[in-house]
Amino acid sequence: MKKLIKATIAGAVAVNVSVIVIAQTFWGPEAYHGNVGRGAKIAAWGTSKGVASCSSCHGYDGVGNGYSRVPRLAGQSSAYLVQQLDNYASGKRNNIFMANFAQRLSDQERADVAAYYASLRSGFPPPESEIPQSVLERGRQLANFGDDKLTVQSCNDCHGPQGAGEFPDIPALKGQYSNYIVQRLQQLAATHNDADLMFSVASDLGAQDMQAVAAYYEQLANSGVH
């Protein structure tokens, strides 16, 4: 995202070093604020450059589609949404549909549409099926305390209490579709990137634990198991 990078460079004294420097980033409001009105238009109509309307899959209300593993975007961190669009566009996150759209969105359009979906406070659909209490309990444990045997920390360590997200960087999990969370964990486990914390977390979770923690977060927005 060019705007952000510009802000970074402008704020930093040029330092010529051979090691990676944690970017001196100024997370000022203008750095990632798009225009909600313009974003709504992109969401509804797409763009003239061949970007289909986001709403055709994610919904104009940003609720997504659990059956098709289309994630909920409503209320998500706008900075996170922009980052994912950047990752799709660059190929860092591999998804042929989203890469096609993201590459055709300008930096400003990415910020706008992210701002639109971040601004939504849509309701949460009920889970598709009843989840056994034992599965939810396992998910609750992983989410809140982790598992020492697996060397997996609690998800909430970074994703915040009840998976509400630690914005701007870390996305909300609360109310996200479980099948999307599972798919995403599987993708992360396959990246084999030791420098990415989510690789090492996801690769230490078995299939059942992925299901359990995903089911727990999905039902959090609706029900009683906290």
Binding site: V21, N144, T151, L197
Partner: protein
């Protein structure tokens, strides 16, 4: 009469870094082992998880992970003519308690000592002459073990921890990007350095311009996920800025919980007993053989645990105190200079330097880690000629923010009001716009600085507290002033620096209320001569050969660096000697 337990082969007193690594090394010998820990058990999951673990008030300010000094304090005086008083709140140093000990709340600063540190007296006399060294009035001595003998154990501990860093000297070959002053190591660090902070990048620029040799601080907060030689997994650091005084929730910091306890606890031959307060090492009628230890359990029952081998591995203060309480070894007498237990207590000599930047320079200190610094060793140890200065030793200069915690991590320029609107305005103006340097240096032992039992004050079990008699030696005061001046020069040269300030902790009188370093050392030191040391180079008691005393209490004086790696190298060296030689033929190893 105390209840007697079933005899075991090894009993460990205190279950932190030292005990757990020795127990891990002995896990395949078939020995029956019992670990006695005065505190509670605790593990990364569920005990170290957020948000509870990031409670600055509880852990950093009120020091929830530290020895309970309502029950067990130490007393302090600055000279033998004073009356010592109890230290009722920890300040200058923070001895840990509970399972894992101080290895849980450490910063993960993973240094080796230098070659000359282990032969300090010889090396100083060789370079500067006996007259020069004698005039300093120190009681420094050689360790009795050379660096080369410890190198494989340093290497082993670094690979167990997955330490992140950049080698500067591999088998004598200087490596670009690393520390050219370091002692030769046999191979590269297991994982690459952490990302550099902006504070460190500015420091790197200034230090390079001044002709120094900046390098990334070695860290046991890992830059990438890592599986160690024992098959244990560590994760990558997320730069949350809560290492020091806290436990790592992310499995990213090497600690007993991540690299030793999982192996030990799997063993059917090991038993951990927590809330056990050991009060004495018992001996047979000859006095030359330990028979076990006596402790009080959580219910207050007095228990005798017989054992063929006793390992003391507590915080250095408590190792020394246990020897004194058990009347093992001759207590040191500062009047005559005779006796050994309590002799050569040393500390760490430190200062801080701050650079204040304009508000458009964003240091972002909250993106921190316990060992994320950029640093120089140009003034460490004996890396410069001391002949003109009249002192020995030195300090590293390290630019780092271990975090940006709101209560404790916001230094303000000199002259800022300590409270009220002026203070608040200054916090708003400066938070996130300050560069920080730590100057962290050697501590030399002297005749006057020592440890013994307090004649007046007692702990909750009615036993005398340990008494510390300490003030900074003139040698160390000169050293830290010299090195702080060098850091101030760097601070002024950092791009955008508007003002600098410093706070020297290494000055008389020693201020126990302000945090300086938890690297207390000595008191049960190692050496080659029983008249000037408590243990031999395998940390085995000269007087009681089936008693081992592990940890920094073995250091004859303290080196430039944070000492965990060095004491663990000593412990692994000891473990090898026990496994390969002592078990076949129990008795003196030297």
């Amino acid at each position: 009469m105390p209840t007697a337990m079933k005899e075991v082969d090894v009993v460990f007193v205190g279950f932190g870094w030292g005990s757990s690594i020795l127990a891990k090394e002995l896990v395949n010998t078939g020995l029956k082992m019992v670990g006695l820990e005065r505190g509670f058990p605790r593990f990364t999951s569920p005990d170290f998880q957020s948000p509870e673990i990031h409670d600055e008030l509880r852990f950093a300010v009120r020091k929830a992970m530290m020895q309970d000094n309502v029950r067990e304090a130490i007393t302090l005086r600055h000279s033998i003519s004073e009356t010592a008083l109890p230290v009722r709140r920890w300040g200058a140093f923070l001895p840990g308690t509970n399972l894992g000990g101080s290895g849980v709340h450490w910063n993960g600063q993973h240094f080796r000592f230098q070659e000359k540190d282990f032969v300090l007296k010889t090396a100083m006399e060789e370079r500067y002459g006996k007259k020069f060294v004698d005039a300093l009035g120190l009681t420094i001595q050689d360790w009795g073990v050379p660096y080369q003998e410890l190198e494989p154990y340093y290497d082993k501990f670094e690979y167990l921890c997955g330490a992140s860093g950049k080698a500067g000297n591999i088998k004598g070959q200087i490596q670009p990007g690393g520390n050219p002053f370091e002692a030769p190591r046999s191979r590269e660090y297991p994982t690459p350095p952490l990302k550099e902070q902006y504070n460190g990048a500015l420091f790197r620029k200034a230090a390079t311009e001044l002709g120094y040799h900046p390098y990334p601080q070695p860290s046991s907060n890992l830059s990438v996920a890592y599986t160690n030689p024992d098959g244990l997994k560590l994760k990558a650091c997320v730069y949350c800025g809560f290492c020091e005084r806290f436990a790592c929730p992310h499995y990213a910091k090497a600690s007993p919980q991540t690299v030793t306890l999982p192996i030990v606890q799997r063993s059917p031959n090991f038993e951990l007993r927590t809330q056990c307060q050991v009060v004495q090492v018992n001996r047979d009628s000859t006095g030359k053989k330990a028979t076990g230890v006596t402790y009080y359990d959580a219910a207050g029952r007095e228990i005798f645990q017989p054992a063929s081998m006793v390992v003391l591995s507590m915080f250095p203060f408590n190792n020394v105190r246990m020897l004194l309480l058990s009347k093992i070894g001759k207590p040191y007498d500062p009047q005559t200079g005779a006796g050994v237990v309590g002799r050569n207590y040393s500390y760490q000599t430190t200062s801080n330097v701050w650079s204040f930047f304009d508000e458009d320079v964003n240091i972002n200190p909250f993106m921190g880690s316990g060992a994320i610094g950029t640093m120089i060793d140009d003034f460490s140890g004996d890396n410069f000629d001391h002949a003109p200065y009249g002192f020995i030793g030195g300090a590293y200069i390290l630019a780092a923010w271990t975090g940006g915690r709101p209560v404790e991590q916001n230094p303000l320029p000199p002259g800022t009001p300590p409270w009220g609107k002026g203070w608040k305005d200054a916090v708003r103006k400066h938070y996130g716009h300050v560069g920080q340097m730590l100057v962290h240096g050697t501590s030399m032992s002297t005749r006057e600085n020592y440890l013994d039992l307090d004649p007046t004050y007692r702990d909750a079990w009615g036993l005398p507290l340990l008494r510390m008699t300490f003030d900074f030696p003139e040698n160390d005061v000169r050293m830290i002033r010299f090195c702080t001046d060098r850091a101030l020069e760097i601070g002024k040269a950092m791009p955008g620096s508007r003002a600098v300030s410093s706070k020297i902790y290494g000055q008389r009188p020693f201020d126990v209320a302000i945090y300086q370093s938890t690297h207390n050392a000595g008191g049960a030191i190692m050496g080659t001569d029983p008249s000037t040391s408590v243990v031999n180079k395998y940390q085995q008691s000269w007087d009681v050969p089936n008693l081992f005393v592990l940890g920094a209490s073995s250091f004859p004086q303290n080196g430039t660096y944070n000492y965990t790696n060095t004491l663990q190298a000593l412990n692994l060296h000891t473990a090898d000697a026990i496994r390969n030689r002592y078990l076949k033929n129990p008795g003196p190893l030297v």
